[in-house]
Symmetry: C2
Subunit: 354 residues, 2 copies
């Protein structure tokens, strides 16, 4: 047997505290596993849920659900890959065979694991480390697509497909001319909201962006959206720009009750709300309003694997405009500092290189 | 000028109290109006909202939003009809020209009036009378379709299209084989729920019906649905019959918070809930559940005119099975007794002949 090797890894130590420590290099536990040598791993907004203590999790796990690398070791049942292949992973695993996977609803695969989280019994160590174990590797890894620069590959693990999912859920199913002339409002312009704008502009000419942070709105504006500051009466402004009706489509990219309430205000009768924000609160709706608006609302986690190819096709068209999201690169050893900068919203996203 | 004529009409006098009184025959007020001589008008479940006092309305209005008759008088701008034509009306009016009407979202027409209700400023006198005034007649009346027996025509004014809308909203947009093998649960088997079952069976082989009343479930069973009594743990039974997943589609035909909560329990991850129940309460949802289920929910009033032709095509296939809904015919003068029988659930529906 080979001697146990050690690696460097970011570890969650408690609220507001990550450290870089020595850990054992993971090994194959199941013949469907692969071990990836990480080349790049990103820090994502949803990492702040446990970092800030909004989501309670045990300490001791390795974060990182957005990562890419090369195949270091393959379980005996993994097909379609060779040692040394450059790959990217989806932020949740999927078996590729169950009821949900067959329907491309991969985020609800009955054997799905979430990378880089300590909560529940379906969370596993993530990619902010030198190596990471990937279960169900045949259906969770994708050979590195050449369509986008390597440095932006991590966007395909979560946030770009998630933004694409928010936008595409309704827009891709209606006639092209109807989509083009419709009004889409994006509530929340963090990195996922920015990706949602970049995706929605594939179908829709009139995109309105709402956020509390002027700098984020400036980025939304550069992508072609019309910015409205959250404190500047967005409901009145959206009504005014839609002949008094409200928005045809509203994308919820925040994940709290206040944002959802705003979406209901903004949407027109027979309009659609697509929510990808991670909901942690109770949501209270006025029943007569929902009935009177004939509204449709879709919630939930993006099935990254299920829509990977179509999201990738869109990212290949817009990646230059999104390069600013991936400009902050730091060494894994700088993780404690990186988390602090990210938590203070001083950087969009951090890409770690081990 | 012609002498003012009088007619007999049902009038709402207060909670639990309707009377038949003399009223003036309505006259053309707008060139787009028509006056209909009523041949049949029905009593619908939603009439119980104001009859029972659940919905507060002023007294004095003439009820009846489901009616058919012959054209008695036409405004100068009404097109497509002649005096004496047999017609049926939709339960709300529509202008036929606005943003919503152009999109077949006629229930949110910006000039929509609701027949037979006293609430708000968009309610007008209904058809439980010898004559009724129909605004926007060109787009609110339809020449009597020959596909179904005249005695069942009133079903096309509201409840059959509403049941069809509940079922079709999601089912008609997915591949035929996927719809066929899916599981659709109908929550609430009053007359609209029965119509929803009759409509859903166009697409779907596995329909489950839930209600508190065994007699209603027996009718659902006769239409091919698998009945589950509300007190008999429907959530466990639906899981058991779907390999532990939950229903692909849930149709909400009740209109209260408890029914909506049950729908959330019954639906599978990535499933769809179609709600046509008139919502009068606050709806409280667990945000993490909505996210974890990737659920889509659509609410609201059926756009009867927008889907009239497709609903009619389905009713022409199933009308014999629904004839039992229209078997109780009474004279308009018997309205006080009819409302009491209906309120006590002793009849499905009452059809009045003036």
């Amino acid at each position: 047997m080979a001697q146990e090797k050690s690696m460097r890894a970011v570890v969650f130590k408690g609220v507001g505290n990550v450290q870089v420590e020595d850990r054992k290099v993971p090994t194959i536990r199941d013949p469907r596993d692969a071990i990836i040598k990480v080349t790049v791993a990103a820090l994502c907004g949803s990492d702040l849920h446990w970092y800030r203590g909004h989501q309670e999790t045990p300490t001791g796990f390795i974060p990182g659900h957005e990562f890419a690398g090369v195949i270091h070791e393959l379980g005996s049942q993994v097909t379609g890959f060779n040692i040394g292949d450059s790959v990217v992973a989806t932020f949740t695993t999927q078996c590729g065979e169950c009821f949900y996977c067959k329907r491309k609803q991969t985020s609800r695969c009955s054997q799905s694991f979430l990378f880089g989280n300590g909560a529940g019994n379906t969370s596993i160590d993530g990619g902010q480390a030198e190596y990471v174990r990937v279960p169900f590797a045949s259906s969770t890894l994708i050979v590195r697509p050449k369509e986008i620069p390597e440095c932006m590959l991590v966007l395909m693990g979560d946030i770009f497909p998630t933004g694409y999912f928010a936008a595409s859920r309704f827009l891709k199913n209606i006639p092209q001319d109807e989509a083009k002339s419709s009004t889409t409002v994006v509530v929340g312009c963090g990195p996922v909201g920015i990706c949602a704008i970049a995706a929605a502009s594939k179908w829709c000419d009139n995109i309105i962006a709402i956020d509390m942070v002027p700098e984020r709105l400036e980025e939304a504006r550069r992508l072609g959206a019309k910015p409205i500051l959250h404190s500047d009466d967005p409901a009145a402004k959206v009504l005014a720009s839609t002949e008094g009706r409200g928005a045809d489509f509203v994308l919820e990219v925040v994940g709290n009750a206040a944002a959802m309430e705003l979406c209901i205000q903004l949407v027109r009768p027979f309009g659609n709300i697509s929510s990808v924000g991670v909901q942690t609160e109770e949501l209270v709706f006025n029943g007569p309003t929902l009935y009177a608006k004939n509204v449709t609302i879709a919630w939930g986690r993006c099935p990254v694997r299920g829509i990977f190819e179509e999201a990738l096709a869109r990212l290949s068209e817009v990646h230059e405009k999104l390069a600013f999201l991936c400009q902050c690169r730091m060494n894994l050893e700088q993780a404690p500092e990186a988390y602090k900068l990210f938590n203070d919203r001083k950087v969009h996203k951090v890409l770690f290189s081990p």
